[in-house]
Structure formats: C-alpha cells, structure tokens
C-alpha cells in the first residue's frame, strides 16, 4: 500500500534518499566538475600564475573546448549547489553518494583537462619553464585516484539492500 511519509519523522530521510539516489550522484558529479574548474581558475591561473590565459599553440578546437568547459563548470557549480539544497529540502541528501559523485566528476574533468585539453589540444601547459613531465604525471594520477575513489565509494553504497523492517529503513 502507499502511505504518506511525514517530513519530520526519521524514516523518511532514509527512504527519500533511495528515491533520489541517482540525483545525489549527479549533484555530486556536477559539483566536482565545478570545483575542479574553480580550483583550476583560482589556484593555477590567478594565484600561482602557472597556467596561461592563452597559449599560441592552442588549436581552434581547444579554444572551443576550453570555452565550453569554462561556461559549463561555472553553471555546474551553482546549479549543483541548488540541487544540493533541493535534496536537503526533500530530506533525500545522501552524503556518500554525493561524495562519490564529487570524486567522479572532479576526477573525470581533471583527467580530460590534463590529457586532451593540455596535451592534444595544446590549450596551455600546467607550468612554463620547467620540466613538464612530473607535473603531468601528478596531475593525471591525481585525476585517476579521484575517479577510483568515486568508483569505490559507489561500490560501498548498497542501493537496494534494505528490506521492509530493516534496521536501516527504520532510521538507524
């Protein structure tokens, strides 16, 4: 039978989040992507001045890709914050699922930036006037580690484990 779940009662928190499990993940992915874009801009462009605004080696497709990701990462940061607020409002926030998304989104964007954008499209390098290989290694390994962390976290969260009458379902 169907029943109305009371907002204030505890169990709803644990049932709503199953309903919004995918939304939790995507909210995290968008936030991770935005976060990495933000760190890239603030730390590497503005504070360290390692990244350059424009590199003469940049291909046209690189310029397009950069613009798209620049715009999308700003949008993703703000949109995912509102999505997160919406999940809280629906009492459906699920920290582990969200965090898994943050790692996945952040890692995927960083890997794309470090391989395709920096190397293939020649957008700009991580740093100029230094031996670039260790920087690239650390950059891309960090990205892979983040993706791995995201995948592992997803694996740890059981989506359909709860049964009626489960301790988890009852809010423990």
């Amino acid at each position: 039978m169907t029943a109305e779940i009371n907002h204030s009662s505890n169990p709803s928190k644990f049932t709503n989040r199953y309903t919004y499990a995918t939304r939790n993940l995507w909210t995290g992915i968008l936030f991770g992507l935005g976060l990495v874009g933000f760190i890239d801009e603030v730390v590497f462009h503005q504070l360290l001045h390692w990244h350059h605004f424009y590199d003469k080696s940049t291909t046209d497709i690189g310029l397009v890709s950069d613009g798209l990701f620049h715009a999308f990462s700003w949008f993703a940061t703000i949109a995912s914050s509102f999505l997160l607020a919406d999940l809280h409002r629906k009492e459906a926030y699920w920290f582990k699922r969200w965090l898994a998304g943050v790692f996945l989104g952040g890692g995927a964007f960083q890997l794309y930036d470090g391989t395709i954008q920096h190397k293939w499209m020649g957008l700009h390098q991580i740093r100029y006037g230094v031996e670039i290989r260790p920087y690239d290694m650390i950059w891309n390994l960090t990205a892979l580690a983040m993706i791995l962390a995201g995948v592992l976290l997803i694996g740890r969260v059981k989506l359909h484990s709860f049964q009626p009458g489960d301790a988890k379902f009852n809010g423990e």
Partner: protein, 269 residues
Amino acid sequence: MGNSHSHVAGSEVNLQLIMAIPFLLAVVLYLAAVVVSNRQLKKQWSKVRSVLWMVGILCASMAIIGPLAERAHEDFAAHMVGHVLLGMLAPLLMVLATPMTLILRTIPVRSARRLTRILKSLPVQIITNPLCAASLNVGGLWLLYTTDLYVLMQQNIIIHILVHIHVFVAGYLFTMSIIYLEPTPHRLSFTYRSMVLVGAFAAHSILSKYIYAHPPSGISSAQSEIGGLIMYYGGDAIELMVIFIFCFQWYKNARPRGKVFIIKTPTHV
C-alpha cells in the same frame, strides 16, 4: 589636431546632450508610471525595482555618453568596459526592474489586453526564444570583432549608434529569454534554457580569448589583450549573476508542493 578638436568641442557637447535624452526619458517614464500606477492601484511598486532600473540606465548611458564613452574611441579597454556595461550589466539590472509588468499595471485594461496580444504574437515569440536571442547577442559580437565592422563603427556615427543599440537590445532580449520575471506567455523548460545559457556563455568566453589573440583591425595586440581579459572576466562576473538567478528560479519552482512524498512503504504489522 588639438586645434580642430576645440572647434568641434561645442557640437560634441550638443551631441552628448542629444544622446542623453533617451536615457533621461527612460528614467522619467519609468518613475512616472510608478507614481501613476501606485495612485491607481493603491499598491506600492517595489522601490528596489525602481532603483535597479535607474542603476541599469546609468550603466547603459556610461557606454554612450561621458568620459568612459569618450575614452572608448581610442582605448579598446574602455570600449570593452562600456560593452560589458551596455550589453550585459544594464540589461540584467533592467530585466530585474520588470518594466513590462509596470507598463501593464499602468495603462488601461483594454490597452493592456492589446499589448498582451502583441507579446503573445509569433514574431515576439521567435525573437524572445533563447536560441534566437543568444544568436543575435553573441553572433552580433562575433561579427563586430572579427570583421571590419569595428573599424566602420569608429568612422561612421550612424553605424556607431546602430551597433550600440544592437548590443543593448540583444543583451536585453537574451537576459529576458533566460530569466522569467515578466508575464511570459510561452514558457520554455529550464533544461532548454540552461543549455542555451551555457552555450552562449561559452561562445562569449571563446570570443574573448579569440580577441585576446587576434586583435580586431586597428587595435594593437597590447590593447586587444587587455580588452579580451576584460570581456572574459567581466562576462564571467555577470554570467554568474544570471546563472544564480536562473538556478534560484528553478529552486523556487521545484519546491515540493503539499504532500508529494508519497512513496511505497511497507504495511505496518
């Protein structure tokens, strides 16, 4: 050159005064509508909106008259600051001031009906479609900075004025096609609008970097680099505000209404 400058100085002041008229008119008409409709409806129009309108008009006017506009003739950075004000910040502030709502509450009901019918018409629907408005907006800028239009604009006063009108109108149309504050007969989904928003924002960023690297004709590369940076980061700041308002509207719109949390639960034994 200095000599000829002092000769035209008088006519230039006159020209500035003439150019100031539309802005003054916009402020006076808006405030008059506020006073009239407040008296008619015995309901106060938001003071915040009136202030937003006036600040918006001020931003737009700075690109056309006064010291910034003066400098824009020889200084590409000043030109770019003017364009960010005229094409992005002023439209945003003025959209937030909801002038159409104000007009509709001020004019007689019959005229308001007629106006609403025009707003619902196909041409208006097409021109306020986000995709169309975004193309007019960013497409116009691509034309301006990648063709000889920029040089023509500096030489011909008519083209100069037309370009500025286009930059403002296209910026306004684009902003109002994304952020719905006024009566909007044909509402489009948040998903569609967000895709156009990101696309237009991206095209703006790409053009900024393109200008940085490829100076428009008659502009030194040192100037185009500063201009490109101003366009890029100035655009960022204002797009962030647009995105924030857009997402906030989604958040309000998506609020759970009543008891929507009806999901399957086990029967209690």
